[in-house]
Point group: C2
Chain length 321, copies 2
């Protein structure tokens, strides 16, 4: 059986895997992104590990359908150029796709990590069969990938899908993107944690404080979720508020795009039912009747290896398999 | 030369026209929507006037490529069903497309009026050549039509494009749609006028009051524009604020869809430069760098007869001409 090669370039780790056409990982290698002096050394390592992976699994080039790569930020898909890569200081406008294609001698496709995740959910996850869908990741950043009319929608300069930077207030907190009051400026990991710390410092009584033994710098979304599951009123209110903010942004997407599915993944999505209930309630209250009735909000199915499996899906998608 | 038949069903008037393939109106009839006892009488009149128009212009059925109809609200394009029609009390779920097709014996297409307007701008107006574009109408209601990848984007239940109901605040004024703080709840005609009246009653000094001889119920967007053009500080501030609200909603669309063009029409768009400058400034401040650089905001080219010309464009679009 022929296989796919998935490469997931993250801020922390780079993962490379052999994946079958059903999205199952057959063999995998992981190494840290920050270990390299520059982009040349990093690319050497990627190609080296890829060749090792093939050899160890006992397959050769002709067994590989193609290579899919997911990378953070905007990607120019024509040349596979990745504009920036945090933790690799000299990385700027590197045509990673073209370089890998030449070095590996394999069909290679590169796209933005959230676009790749959307394709992963479409081919192998919660989005199977969807015609129009938004895929959202809730984490440090808030990302989005759009499937419209069954196709990945990239926009006029490959920059579409930025759900995290849809404004949900006229005025509001500064956002990393340079604007303010974007969805991410309220529900990005750091913003949630900062808000919780501020409220605790202002005297809020909550289990969260006990769970970190008073060390507020140890607060994470996971800790807030643990407190919420234990019934902590304040922690539950935090997730309801996050759901209201995300749901307000999504109500706009539902009215604008009349998508039938919204798939939500990322670390913050692990807050689970209380968050999803609040998102759904907000969409029901704020989106128009017909599109609100049409849309289903579901949790992403692919978890830890979503980037890898999505990268494999990118190959199937681009090769039309 | 073969011609197109355009029918524009509005809340106030119904217009029927013979239009050539370049979008030029050759002959036209107009009559009020509210003159009829029920939907049967109205449809009789439409077919009667259509036949009269053909006879008067000296053409027969085989000279007509097809009939395009633009109607308000959600339209099920499969049967051409128009769900509601204000001013025609017994109009509910009428399969207008199928009825006209049978009665006229012509290829017939029906779609939402703003979708039709978007096609009109794409074929004959400010949107020629655009691949990804949002068409916005600013009037009593705020509507939107989307062209994505060169195709009219209708969504999973033909309800897409509702830019007027994208929320721009977590909390805010009630909107006609049942939600609150939508774009339309700030910049729909009546909301703008109501806001101006409130501020004048609260003691605001403005030329607007003089222009209506103190009769505040006579205030319209046109009057506010006239005051703004005459240099009235308050009136100018109103349009800047409308531009900020519209621009905030559009910044979200730009980040989400990375469209290359935004075409703005409707009565409120006549406020002109001061409004457009404010919209552009807000998008530049609030959208991400790359998509903000990509997008052009322009005024709609088709004016009074946009609905008719759009209806003709719908025929060309659907027939693949």
């Amino acid at each position: 059986m022929r296989l796919l090669l998935g490469i997931d370039i993250g801020g922390t780790n780079i993962k490379i895997a052999l994946i079958d056409k059903k999205g199952r990982i057959k063999a995998k290698k992981t190494f840290p992104t920050a270990d390299f002096k520059g982009n040349r050394a990093l690319i050497e390592r990627i190609t080296g590990e890829t060749k090792k992976l093939l050899a160890e699994y006992g397959v050769v080039k002709k067994d590989i359908i193609g290579v899919g790569v997911g990378a953070p930020g905007a990607v120019d898909i024509r040349s596979g150029t990745v504009h920036y890569l945090t933790n690799v200081p000299d990385w700027s406008e590197v045509p990673l796709g073209n370089i890998l294609k030449n070095k590996l001698g394999l069909l290679t496709f590169v796209d933005n990590d959230v676009n790749v995740m959307a394709l992963g959910e479409l081919f192998f996850g919660s989005g199977i069969g969807a015609k129009n869908m938004l895929c959202v990741t809730l984490g440090t950043g808030v990302g989005g990938g759009l499937i419209l009319e069954g196709r990945l929608y990239r926009g006029s300069s490959y920059a579409a899908g930025e759900f995290g930077h849809v404004p949900i207030n006229i005025a509001g907190p500064r956002c990393n993107c340079g604007s303010w009051a974007c969805v991410e400026a309220y529900v990005g990991n750091n913003y949630i944690v900062r808000d919780v710390i501020t409220q605790i410092k202002n005297g809020e009584k909550t289990l969260i404080k006990k769970l970190v033994n008073g060390k507020l710098s140890k607060i994470t979304p996971e800790i807030i979720s643990r407190a919420a599951r234990a019934g902590d009123r304040f922690a539950k209110e935090i997730w309801r508020d996050v759901g209201n903010k995300v749901g307000t942004g999504l109500a706009g997407v539902v009215n604008l795009l009349n998508v039938e599915k919204i798939v939500i993944g990322g670390g913050v999505a692990e807050a689970g039912k209380i968050l999803f209930d609040s998102i759904k309630k907000t969409i029901a209250a704020r989106a128009m009747k017909l599109p609100a009735k049409t849309v289903k909000v579901v949790k992403a199915k692919l978890r830890r290896d979503a980037g890898l499996i999505g990268a494999a899906a990118l190959v199937l998608y681009e090769a039309g398999i």
